[in-house]
Subunit: 371 residues, 2 copies
Amino acid sequence: MDVIVGGGVVGLSLAWRLAREGRPVTLVDPAPASGASHAAAGMLAPVSEVTYTEVPLLRLGVASLRRWPAFAAELAADAGLAGPEALDLRSEGTLDVAFGADDLAALDELAAYLEKLELPVRRLTGRECRRLEPMLAPSVRGGLLAVGDSWVDPRRVTAALLAALDRRGVQLVRARVGELLRDGGRVTGVRLEPPGGDDRRAELRAERVILAAGAWSAGLAEVPVRPVKGQIMRLRSPQPLLTRCVRGTVHGTPVYLVPRGDGELVVGATQEEMGFDTRVTAGGLYELLRDARELVPGVTELEVSDVVAGLRPGTPDNLPLIGPSGTPGLALATGHHRGGVLLAPLTADILLGEEGELAAMCSPGRFRDIS
Amino acid sequence: MDVIVGGGVVGLSLAWRLAREGRPVTLVDPAPASGASHAAAGMLAPVSEVTYTEVPLLRLGVASLRRWPAFAAELAADAGLAGPEALDLRSEGTLDVAFGADDLAALDELAAYLEKLELPVRRLTGRECRRLEPMLAPSVRGGLLAVGDSWVDPRRVTAALLAALDRRGVQLVRARVGELLRDGGRVTGVRLEPPGGDDRRAELRAERVILAAGAWSAGLAEVPVRPVKGQIMRLRSPQPLLTRCVRGTVHGTPVYLVPRGDGELVVGATQEEMGFDTRVTAGGLYELLRDARELVPGVTELEVSDVVAGLRPGTPDNLPLIGPSGTPGLALATGHHRGGVLLAPLTADILLGEEGELAAMCSPGRFRDIS
């Protein structure tokens, strides 16, 4: 049996895929779908997220984005939903906007670079941007539309995954894993933290433990992940203000706005190296509000419906850790940083052994001393 | 019997005072202590709140502030608290700070004006301000310390009032008043809104109905009050950042910071004419955060623990409406706008007939057509 440690979008997707393959699996999490996946905006935006140094991440993202329509359709069917639209999967693209001459020059360079990679983008004037998105600030001088970029509601996705697991009878253990059980050089299961004053220490034996505990993975094994704090805000409007994702760099900080069909508008996100700190701070909120106003002044009138901080699992090279660790009996599916939702379908394929070259890029073996 | 409609700080204080006098009283509110009193910061700051046109309001405030120490001591005793410090009543004064030359000139004028009224103030340099409050922004160039201004935690005050009422056996009816009962030209009681689908319409008969329903008073009688929306934020710090209330005008907007002994820091407040709208908005939060940062840059690091919007009951002349209305059987204790917490002790005195000249200033009779 496989035991998956961690019920975020990655762990849940893995459990679901394994269950679909008819493989026995148990998932352990004290509070599934409440960590980074709960905070996430759900951008499936490999193209507009790209930077020059991150071609490998771009390739992973593009490969996983291609899997999303089928993943969503199968998940919706398995969860008993009417259809994939119940996950709010949308593909109108991401509009990256520029305010100043420097920003515009950067967009031109990015457009040329993406075209060389044969990725579908369209360079737009400020007027063209506002024709697509009339609520954009008048000061927007140009933009780049990443045509294929998509987005999804991660809270609906994890809820659907939980429903699908339930329908397939997958065991979900709502407990914290205190440590991995080890026998000689091998991982043989997990020990559960006793709740409250209970000192019965339950153990779960496993042929394979898959560590999908995000930023908390480093507490259970020697894994080079660290928490990268992100504060994110949800606004609510009677009608949607935007029809697609909008991004921009304001005061040197990237900010994005993700619209949902029901009028929710997600504003994200800070990136802070603060350790295991999930406080929503005055400074974090201030930056999000300030930058969102610069992009779309009309957000001022919207209700603030939710503010939350999550911890992304960052790695030294910004690529995830997926596959067998150096230790027999232990596999990893962690380190997805900002890409957990996007990369969930690909991560399952890699762990099921379906990907050669892409799997190699994510192999934990690229770091020494994982155990 | 008196029936008081409204369980904010004003209605609760009245009920408590009447009960202490041995007079039968019933208080009706669907959710006591949850409206403007819950949102309020609790500044007892008649001096620093003064403007040139509001000498009557200043006189009311100074008179009520003088009553606060005894009010707090008696309330604490009646509520079974250890002492008035359980209400977090503090009197280190309010520091009004200035950034630019215009602000400084305004502070000089205000100081001269207050000295003429024999109110205790001290004019300070920027350096003196920072000696008192080291977390103040370096750009603060001067200040005015209103020595006698105080503050209190309104949530503790309303909780203590509810406890005191309970200990005195005062009946608290948790229901909404649908309308006033009228017989000929006289108010004879209230009709309660049936909860849910229940169509029993309970009535409460009263010799006198005291309308203390704040911004909602105008829905029950012809009273010139309107809702003035205020958004307010609570931050949390391990140690208090400030030792006294700090106010200032930033970007033309007044902002204040009220510190509590437990590290809470209240940042207030917007003033918006939006009708009965209690949404917390992106624009409201943005202004509070922006202006608080200008006064005390260190707030950036603090956790945001609460954000709420309340509706102050504004009147055409910014003075409350306290005393008999034109209609027999109906008295008013409403229209306290930003001053409900400060004016609660005086309001009770006025309604008990203990104040002559001050009562005349608050008399509903100054407006025609109240009924």
